[in-house]
Amino acid sequence: MSPEAPGAGPAPAAPEAPQDLFRLQGWYRTMLLARAVDELMWVVGAQGKAHFVLTSRGHEAAQVGAAAALRAGWDYVFTYYRSMAVALQLGVSAEDIFLSVLARRDDPFAGGRQLPNHISVPRLRLPTGSSSVGTHIPHATGAGYAARVLGQDFVAVAFFGDGATAKGDFHEALTIAGIWKLPVVFICENNGLAISVPTHLESPAPIHLKGAGYGMPGVLVDGCDPLAVYRAVAAAAARARAGEGPTLIEAEVVRLVAHSNADDQSVYRSADELAGARARDPLPRLRRRLVAAGTAETLLGSWEAEARASAEAALEAAERAPEPAAADARRHLYPEPAADVAGAPAAEAGA
C-alpha cells in the first residue's frame, strides 16, 4: 500500500463547512454502530451461535456516504452480502441484523432462510438478493427500466464488490443500462480482493475506466472518505434523475478482516499488506477529522460507548427470539394471496 493511496493521507487541514461537519458526525455514529455489530458478529460466530459471518469492516465509510445520498424508501437499493452499513444508514436496525445472523424466526430479511446480511426490506425498497456474486446488477438495470416505464423518478442502485465486475452479469447490466440511459448508479466497493484473488488478476484495467465502454461516466472516489463518496453518489443520482443515464462509481475501500469466518486470510495476505489496510481504516481517520474540526473527545467517547451498548442490546434481543418452525420450511415457495395488501388480494389484483 503506497503512502499516496487514497485514505492514507492526513486529515484535511481545511475547516469543515458546518453542514458537512454535522453530516460527518451523524455518519460517524452509523459507522461506529456498523463496526460494533460487525465485531460482535465475529464473536457469536466463534461461539458457534452463528454458522456464518460476512463482514463490512473497512467498507463503512463508502457504504454510509453512498446510502446517505439516496432517498430511503423511494430509490431501489440492491445490496450484497457486505452491505450492512448501507442497510443501517437506510433505516435497518442492529437487531434486524442480528436476527439474520442468528437465523431467527423474526429475521425480517428472510425468516432465517438466508445467510446473514442478505438485506431485504420491502418498505425501504431494499430487494432480496441471493448469495451469488453480481447477479443483482442486472436487477438494478431492470429497476431503472421500471422507473422509466412507470414515469417515476426513483433511482436504482447496485452495490457490489470488485470481484463482481468480472462476471457477465456486470457486463450485460451495464450494456443495457448504458444503451437506454437508465437511471441507475452502479457502485463498486473495491477492496482489492475477490476472497484471495487480487485486483490485477480480476480486471485487466482499472474498474472505473470500464464505464467508458458502456457509455457512462466512470468515477474513482476515495471509499474511505464518506463525504467524497456522498458527493459522487449524489451527483450520479441527480444525473440519473435528470435522464442523463447511469454512472459507474469505483470506491476504493479496505477489507480489514477475512472474507468470512470460513476464510483464513493469513494464507494469502502478508502482515505488511494488512498493516497498510489498517492504516486506511476509515473510522480512526474520520475520528481524527472530527477532532480536527472541533468535536469534543468526550462526545466522541460517548458515541463510541453508545454504539457498543446498542450492538450488545440488539444481540441480546435477537437471542431471545425463537427459531423458525420446522413445519414452515416449505412455506412461501410460491406467493400466497396477498390478504395483507389493502384492497388488493392477489387474484383480484391480477384480474
Binding site: Y76, F78, D107, P108, F109, A110, G111, R113, Q114, H118, S120, V121, P122, P127, T128, S130, S132, T135, H136, I137, P138, H139, A140, T141, G142, A143, G144, Y145, A146, A147, R148, V149, L150, A156, G168, D169, E172, A173, T175, I176, I179, W180, R330, R331, H332, L333, Y334, P335, E336, A338, A346, G350, A351
Partner: protein, 326 residues
C-alpha cells in the same frame, strides 16, 4: 370468433395483456422492429412503443435479470428468448434468482415475470435450435412451467402466466406454431395454471402428454381406434405443478398409461409421471407404464438422424398397442 394459429394466439394474448395493464412489458432480442424470429410479437412495438416492447441486445443474462428487477418493482415483464436452447445462459437468473425470491424473502417479495421461448425439434434446427428444456425447470421449486398444445390454450395460459405472481417458464413448441388453426373466443378466457385438459375421452389407455405430444397422441389414437383401442388423451398443459388429481383420475379409470414427451427419456418429466403412477396407482394398473421420449441424444441437423432420435405418432401408437396387449 376467429381461427388463429398458436403464434397468432400468443400474439393476441400479449396484445390483450399489454392493453389491459400498463405494467406489462415485453423484453427480448428482435421482438420489436422484426416482430420476433417467428413473428410472435409482430406489430406490438408499433402499437405499444419501443419502451414497453423493447429490443434488447443478445444478452440473455441481462434480459432475464432485467425482467426480474422490473418485476421486483411492480412491472409484469414477459421476456422472450429466441430459442429455448438460449435460455441456458439465463439459467442462473431464472433458477437461483427468480425461483427463490418468494421463498428466500419469506414471502415478502414476488417475481411475477414470464420467460417465454420456442422449444422443440422438427424444423431441422440442429443441436442449438431444437432442444426441449422443460425438465430442467420443472425440477426447481418456485417456478411454474407451462407448455401449451393448442392455440386457445396458448392464449389462455399465457394470460394467466402474465397475471401470476410466481415466475413462469412458458415453452412453445415450434412444431405447434402453425400446425392448426383454432377458433378462439372473442371474450378473453383465462386457462388456470396447473389444470390438465381432457383432450380426448377413451376407455382403454391414457396418454399423458403436453405440447407437441398432444398432436402425436391424436394421430396415434386415430390410428389405433380401428384396432379397437379407445384412447384417452390428457393434455397436462402445465408441467409444474402437475395436475396429479386429473392424472390419477384418468389412469385409475383406464388402467393403462403411456407417457409422451419429446425431451430425452432419462430423468425427463415422464420419469416423474411413471414414478407417480407406480406410487399412487400400482394396484389400478393392468400394464407397465410406457414412456415415449427422445433417445437420450442431442438433436442432429440431418433429417435422417433427427428422425432417428425424436419420436412421433408412430412410436406413440406402438406403445399404445403394447400396453393394450399386455
Amino acid at each position: 370468433m376467429t381461427a388463429l394459429t398458436l403464434i397468432e394466439a400468443i400474439n393476441l394474448a400479449l396484445r390483450e395483456e399489454l392493453a389491459r395493464d400498463e405494467r406489462v412489458v415485453l423484453l427480448g432480442q428482435d421482438i420489436g422492429r422484426k416482430g420476433g424470429v417467428f413473428g410472435v410479437t409482430r406489430g406490438l412495438q408499433a402499437d405499444f412503443g419501443p419502451l414497453r416492447v423493447m429490443d434488447t441486445p443478445i444478452a440473455e443474462v441481462g434480459i432475464a435479470g432485467m425482467a426480474i428487477g422490473a418485476a421486483l418493482c411492480g412491472l409484469r415483464p414477459v421476456a422472450e428468448f429466441q430459442f429455448a436452447d438460449y435460455l441456458h445462459p439465463a439459467f442462473d437468473q431464472i433458477v437461483n434468482e427468480a425461483a427463490t425470491i418468494s421463498y428466500r424473502s419469506n414471502g415478502a417479495w414476488r417475481c411475477p415475470a414470464v420467460f417465454r421461448a420456442p422449444c422443440g425439434a422438427g424444423v431441422h434446427g440442429g443441436l442449438y435450435h431444437s432442444q426441449s428444456v422443460e425438465a430442467y425447470y420443472a425440477h426447481v421449486p418456485g417456478l411454474k412451467v407451462v407448455v401449451p398444445a393448442t392455440p386457445e390454450d396458448a392464449r389462455g395460459l399465457l394470460k394467466s402466466a402474465v397475471r401470476d405472481d410466481a415466475p413462469v417458464v412458458f415453452l412453445e413448441h415450434k412444431g405447434s406454431y402453425r400446425r392448426e388453426r383454432q377458433e378462439v373466443s372473442a371474450a378473453e378466457t383465462l386457462v388456470p395454471l396447473g389444470e390438465a385438459r381432457l383432450d380426448r375421452a377413451g376407455r382403454d389407455a391414457t396418454v399423458l402428454t403436453y405440447g407437441i405430444g398432444v398432436h402425436w397422441a391424436r394421430a396415434a389414437a386415430a390410428a389405433v381406434a380401428g384396432e379397437g383401442i379407445d384412447v384417452e388423451i390428457l393434455d397436462l398443459r402445465t408441467v409444474h405443478p402437475l395436475d396429479r388429481e386429473a392424472i390419477a383420475r384418468s389412469v385409475a379409470r383406464t388402467s393403462r398409461a403411456v407417457v409422451v414427451h419429446e425431451a430425452n427419456r432419462t430423468l425427463g418429466v415422464g420419469a416423474e409421471l411413471a414414478a407417480f403412477l407406480a406410487d399412487e396407482l400400482f394396484e389400478s394398473l393392468d400394464a407397465p407404464v410406457r414412456r415415449v421420449a427422445a433417445r437420450d441424444c442431442h438433436v442432429p441437423y440431418a433429417a435422417s438422424q433427427e428422425g432417428a432420435i425424436v419420436p412421433g405418432a408412430a412410436e406413440v401408437a406402438a406403445a399404445l398397442r403394447d400396453v393394450a396387449a399386455y
